[in-house]
């Protein structure tokens, strides 16, 4: 059995989570604070992966990233033919696919504390940016923790999207879930058992740790 799929999966999940925290935080802030009438439409787009079959998302991503889509055009800038069936393409797909799991908890956390702490900070001469980092983010830290963990864990387990846009290239796009599928297809039960069991233990540990951390943060600060 090769470790490659496991390492690749961890890399993908970590990178996806970091990107999602960077992109998702301002998006969650905007969704929580904006008065724009069309923000719920944006929120719905973000939430779509919750409902869509992963293959549908994967199909559209394939169109988007393939040689004839914008992804293909982008790839041509560095001489590649397409972004489908690459690690980069997989990252883009994972970011979209796991976005609701990160944005939603952060948005909820931003909404939970209301206007008052922000108003108080403004009366104490904190600029909006200052307020964001010294008041809003610390107050929403539970949401950030939940979002990061869910985003990471969810990316680790994705299968349908990967199959559509990633294929099964060892070291490039062959992640854990695909590897397990592969082992089962080829009747390598022991390897399948090992990976599947490992995922089970991992998932259990992640969720348990998160719940305990949440409890501690909950007691510590708020």
């Amino acid at each position: 059995m090769s470790w490659q799929p496991i390492i690749l999966t961890l890399e993908l999940a970590a990178l996806t989570t970091v990107i999602l925290l960077i992109v998702g935080t301002p998006l969650a802030w905007w969704l929580a604070r904006s008065g724009a009438w069309w923000k719920e439409a944006v929120a719905t787009v973000v939430a779509l992966p919750l409902v869509l079959p992963p293959t549908v998302l994967g199909f559209y991503l394939l169109m988007l990233l393939g040689p004839n889509g914008p992804g293909g055009w982008l790839a041509s800038l560095w001489g590649a033919r397409s972004m489908a069936f690459t690690f980069e393409g997989l990252v883009i797909g994972s970011v979209l696919y796991s976005m609701p799991f990160v944005v939603q908890p952060i948005r909820n956390a931003f909404e939970a504390f209301g206007d008052r702490p922000l108003e108080a900070a403004a009366t104490l001469r904190a600029s909006p940016l200052d307020t964001f980092f010294t008041v809003a983010v610390p107050l929403a830290r539970r949401g950030f923790l939940t979002g990061a963990v869910l985003g990471f864990a969810h990316t680790m387990g994705e299968f349908g999207v990967v199959l559509m846009i990633g294929g099964n290239i060892p070291g490039q796009t062959k992640v854990l879930s695909v590897a397990i599928y592969d082992y089962v297809e080829t009747l390598q039960w022991d390897e399948a058992h090992l990976l599947a069991g490992g995922m089970l233990v991992f998932s259990f540990t992640v969720i348990l740790t998160m719940m305990m951390l949440e409890k501690r943060i909950g007691r510590g600060g708020r």
């Binding site: 108003e119 009366t123 107050l139 830290r141 708020r222």
Partner: protein, 363 residues
């Protein structure tokens, strides 16, 4: 006059149009029933809410026409009804939140952490989390935090309204002390007349988004045509100085503008300044100096105005002193006695004070 306020616009159901001037020192209370727009005026002054109008402090215009200075660029301290402390910071870091952003950036330090800690009795709370404070303690920290941001204007939005009676009594003396040492003007929103009478120097009476009257508190209190004179607890709050003592009887003699009053208890050494509250229902009028009465205080005065309140009651305003040039008091008397004694404005009378309901420190 150094605070110039004018806001107008629509607020939910009604139109608000509030304009007044307030002095550059002392506490100006915005007083009125719930929903009269007083909190909105305060929020507009802070820039937390925007209505059309103009706002200037010492000639420094914060809002006019298109000019609108955002909240974080206004030199204010704001005390919310609920203290709104930052739950993720300790009491000390809460207190220093605004301080770091003002003194830390070169604003002159008028009040230091130690001063605030002493003034508000916060020493034992500094290391704690706001979660573990009582309501009154939290509000004291909120006041301290606002003061430490070195404001040029302190805005207080019903800071006692969310507290129970016990916490209120605990925090009021601190606010009274504050009143003595603070050199910046305070706008204080309240719907509790007792609180206003203990703290305020100036009064802006609001009703349904309009100013009913504005001016020094004693003047407004002694105006029988205003709605506050119709409240059952109507009365006046007069500055007084301890003029002497009668230790054998446990009494203190207070000097008012135009007269003297005996009050029970020890109110400090001679020269101590106090605030004496005299309720309209505690004052009765007599045409002759009373004889054979147990009432201790009968002050010569002149009737200056009178207003019929209802079928039974008259509200009379008397000015202390034989010439009627001193402080003004309200007296609530029955119309029957009024007519029986043939009282009318201009007449000399004796104001019998049955009780000084509240005597508070005013430094």
């Amino acid at each position: 006059m150094s605070l110039s306020v004018h806001f107008h616009g629509t607020l939910g159901q009604f139109a608000l149009d509030v304009a007044f001037e307030a002095p550059g020192r002392g506490i100006t209370a915005l007083f009125g029933p719930s929903g009269c727009g007083k909190t909105s005026v305060l929020r507009c002054a802070a820039g937390l809410q925007r209505l059309n109008g103009r706002f200037a402090l010492d000639g420094d215009v914060w809002q006019e026409g298109r000019t609108f200075r955002p909240t974080h660029k206004r030199s204010i301290g704001y005390v919310f009804q609920e203290a709104s402390l930052f739950p993720h910071l300790s009491v000390r870091t809460n207190l220093l939140f605004g301080h770091r952003r003002t003194v830390g950036r070169g604003v002159p330090e008028h009040i230091r952490l130690d001063d605030v800690v002493d003034l508000l009795g916060l020493g034992h709370l500094l290391a704690r989390s706001p979660e573990h404070l009582s309501g009154g303690e939290r509000q004291r920290v909120g006041v301290g935090r606002a003061l430490l941001s070195q404001p040029r204007l302190l805005l207080m939005d019903e800071p006692l309204a969310a507290l129970d009676r016990f916490s209120k009594e605990e925090i009021l003396p601190y606010l009274e002390r504050l009143h003595g040492v603070l050199s910046v003007p305070v706008l204080y929103v309240s719907h509790d007349i007792a609180e206003v009478e203990r703290l305020a120097d100036h009064l802006v009476l609001l009703r349904q988004g309009r100013v009913v009257a504005a001016g020094p508190m004693q003047e407004l209190q002694a105006d029988p045509t205003l709605p506050i004179a119709r409240m059952p607890e109507a009365g006046v709050t007069l500055p007084a100085v301890v003029a002497g003592r009668e230790d054998a009887y446990g009494l203190t003699l207070l000097r008012l503008d135009g007269g003297h009053l005996f009050v029970p208890g020890d109110l400090g050494p001679q020269g101590t300044a106090r605030r004496a509250r005299i309720a309209a229902s505690d004052v009765s009028l007599a045409r002759n100096p009373p004889e054979g009465s147990t009432i201790l205080n009968a002050l010569p005065a002149r009737i200056v105005a009178a207003e019929r309140q209802d079928e039974v009651q008259m509200m009379a305003v008397v000015a202390l002193g034989e010439e009627g040039r001193g402080a003004r008091m309200l007296a609530r008397v029955t119309r029957k006695s009024w007519d029986a004694l043939g009282l009318s404005p201009g007449q000399p009378v004796y104001a019998q004070v049955k009780g000084v309901a509240l005597v508070q420190e005013s430094l």
